[in-house]
Point group: C2
Chain length 241, copies 2
């Protein structure tokens, strides 16, 4: 593991009082402090990918609309660690939100440190996708010091385990993300628990942990195979195959 | 199969010119004509279930909001068989809709006859759920003449094949339907192809046919089992199990 600079980075965000953002450059680095030095490559070559990694790592997902009871659209995950009372100080009234929305937001809460680690892990995984650009020697060394050697083409969807192509990121520009950040346990936002997933795999996994998902589909197959026709006499109709 | 009355039922709907609604009572029946005589029991005991069956059988699903480019919220499935030109006569301008919306609406199109058959099949299946009310002798005879003997408790989710309880319908009242109408082939709205599904099973199936879905999850399990750890060294971390 590298020793990091960790100097606070000046910010005028109202949430700076909750958590100072810290420089993640190597200790004794030259140049200015930077919270996401490992994203510098993508910021130049693939700015939307850099943005997505930073956003998925640090922000909750929210409703795609804004309304009183839908809750904030996206918010820093560590802000969601605050109490209802503390949040009132930021004009967020959790008591006005529907219980399901509160549960969803609270479930996405994560410490600042975990979010930063997640962003590093996602960057490391993105560089190992098929068709990914090569990281600079500096970025490769930074990420490999934490997560191990990079192997191009080794990043798979954490759900279906098929290799992911970096090109899937660009589909996102056409409106519908084909690739999402996923969690082996949907309720734990930590580096060892995150990865990339196909959108449809993420949807199929739903709120299950990966192990629960695999058990679930295994049981489905067992039931379907032991009783293929059941009460649906036409299930083997060629039309529905 | 019963011989049916099939007399047209008077209607002031603007869509009556597209398709007359037909009496589905047995030929020579007494009393007034009725398009859904097999739903009379549910209409009294479980009106929301009756409504759901009629709606799912005859209407497209649409966006949950109304807007120019989201398309009509719900519309009769057989109206979606009309050409773009004919639809203009009903103030539906398909050319103003996004291509994905058009595709979705057209895919849900079905003939009047198929929709009616679907509503009968769904009624027959609902009566065979665990905890379902008993049909009147008349309704049971009507449905069994078409689909065969009813066996209480034999209706399973068409995707996961677990028995479905009639009580799941009542969850729908609390906002989120736990049970939905599903299609073994999502692009074919015919009686032999429909059944009930858990909401989450329907979501997992997505646009795949049932056979495609089973093949897909089988391959996922094979990959997950042959390479359980992959590039995610902590996948077996107890926390994510």
């Amino acid at each position: 593991m590298l020793e990091l600079c960790l100097k606070p980075i000046a910010s005028r965000s109202k949430y700076a009082q909750v958590q100072l953002r810290l420089c993640q450059c190597e200790k004794g680095h030259s140049g200015h402090c930077d919270e996401f030095p490992f994203l510098r490559g993508f910021k130049v070559s693939h700015p939307l990918v850099a943005k997505k990694i930073e956003r998925d790592a640090t922000m909750t997902t929210g409703a795609s609309w804004k309304s009183q009871d839908a809750g904030p659209n996206r918010i820093l995950r560590w802000v969601m660690l605050l109490s209802d009372e503390e949040l009132l100080g930021f004009s967020i009234d959790m008591k006005k939100l529907k219980p399901q929305v509160v549960a969803k937001l609270r479930e996405k809460a994560a410490s600042y440190k975990d979010c930063i680690e997640v962003s590093k892990k996602l960057t490391w995984l993105a560089y190992q996708m098929l068709d990914a650009p090569q990281p600079s020697a500096e970025i490769a060394a930074y990420l490999e010091a934490q997560f191990g050697a990079t192997i191009l083409g080794s990043t798979t969807c954490i759900v279906c385990r098929q290799p992911l192509s970096f090109n899937l990121f660009s589909e996102a520009r056409k409106g519908r993300a084909e690739i999402e950040t996923g969690h082996m346990n949907p309720r734990s936002h930590k580096a060892h628990n995150v990865g990339f997933v196909h959108r449809e795999c993420n949807i199929a996994q739903g709120q299950r942990t990966l192990q629960e998902f695999y058990s679930w589909i295994k049981e489905i197959l067992e039931r379907a195979e032991s009783n293929p026709i059941a009460r649906n006499p036409d299930v083997q109709n060629p039309e529905v195959d």
